[in-house]
């Protein structure tokens, strides 16, 4: 049976209890979900695996239910790895850090114009705030914000991504805001997890150059979109959340895993 222990405010308990049938809940003074003990992954026979440009191993699943579409990636992030700062225009994202060790960063400023990324000659560079994650932390990163992460430990660390198609997204084949299509385009397919393919310079370049086709501004060096880094995030970032959408996502995954035929995951 699905286990996820959520640290939530009392105001969410009734909603959670009704919608998810969770086994245990840790209440804290926080007013939003900040920690989940287990994020369910859709039970697929052979989920697609793709190697990212920094050696990240992504295991993908995409789910559709009515107008809701989202992609998950259960990822292994090598020591020191992580994407350069970037912006999503068609998706909203959650990061779940089962073991912590990942430093997430995000701006509060929003950059809603795909044609004017936060460079000095366009919208101006961003101030980003870092969050050193703890085990089981979940962090929300909505569209339009400069964000990214780094594995600041000496070991490979897990990271679960959830990208939810935003209401303004153009249509992509998987109905997920184009994120899985992006990784299929620029990443390297993993046929055998025990024999990883080489990362090509072409893949690294396309990760940047093909990004706008999928509603993404992707920088290729750290300070391209960033002029300031602050390790003390304001409350809007430290406690930012989108719990209704997150709950609906977890509910859809659970429904699929329980055989609900109104959900398709692949």
């Amino acid at each position: 049976m699905l286990k996820h222990f959520l640290k939530v405010s009392l105001s969410f308990l009734v909603f959670l209890g009704l919608s998810l049938g969770i086994l245990g809940v840790t209440t804290t003074p926080a007013w939003a979900i900040s920690s989940i003990e287990d994020v369910p992954f859709p039970k697929l026979e052979k989920p697609e695996q793709i190697l990212g440009p920094a050696g990240e191993i992504f295991t993908f699943a995409t789910c559709n239910r009515g107008s809701q579409g989202f992609t998950l990636a259960d990822a292994q992030i090598p020591a020191g790895a992580g994407p350069m700062p970037h912006i999503h225009h068609h998706t909203n994202e959650w990061f779940w850090t089962p073991e912590g060790g990942l430093e997430l960063f995000q701006s509060t400023q929003e950059y809603p114009d795909l044609e004017h990324p936060p460079t000095d000659d366009a919208a101006g560079r961003a101030k980003i705030y870092t969050v050193d994650t703890v085990p089981n932390q979940i962090v929300y990163g909505p569209k339009y914000r400069v964000h990214g992460f780094t594995n600041i430990t000496n070991q490979t660390r897990p990271l679960m991504f959830i990208w939810l198609q935003d209401s303004i997204s153009p249509e992509y084949p998987f109905h997920d805001g184009g994120i899985r299509e992006y990784f299929q385009d620029v990443g390297i397919p993993i046929a055998d997890i025990n024999h990883l393919p080489a990362i090509t310079d072409e893949a690294k370049e396309e990760f940047v150059t093909h990004a706008p086709q999928y509603g993404i501004n992707q920088s290729d060096y750290f300070l391209k979109y960033v002029s300031q880094v602050d390790s003390h995030p304001p409350l809007i970032l430290a406690k930012g959340s989108n719990d209704p959408d997150l709950m609906a996502i977890l509910d859809t995954i659970q429904a699929f895993n329980q055989g609900d035929t109104s959900v398709s995951c692949f």
Copy 2:
């Protein structure tokens, strides 16, 4: 004849006039040299050229005069390129930016222990300050500080490095604090400037792993040594300098180029 127009305070004029025979001087309210119109390069028949791990083309010269030893590199920095944050323990450094366009960064905090770099599990990460350079700017970066730079333009930009052997440096073959020896070890020799060699993964790795042999802590991702970035440097950085040593270096180069046999450059 050597031309270098220095923006200096009045207090330096007599010293400069006597020691260098400069042609023209721009006085500004600054109290240290912040701008030089031309940094002389030792006239060598065929200076050594090395390709750096980010595609930088370095043209080297090393000079020795008495106990003074320094290495210069006249470099071409590709768009978006630059080293990850690092620390020199045996050298003090100047950066001269003939065309600007390079964003230099530096900490005020010093990390004098080669065995305890500024990581979270050792000395703690640094706050760095950025300086967007203008044409002909010269910036001083003494030993022990986290520093580096990025070419934030879309074109290749020139950058002249000067590394002066510090008094506490162990002896290296070129008497320059080990910096040219480091690039010879980890860089890729350029035999023909019109046919650049490929940058190998091995060179990129050794740039980091061999660094401590040359008194350098070299990080391999931006946030390894850095927790904060601020675009408003304090006066100690914005106006920091070491003009006596810089003047002595320029004097040595000029003497070599004028045939002074007490100087050796190679």
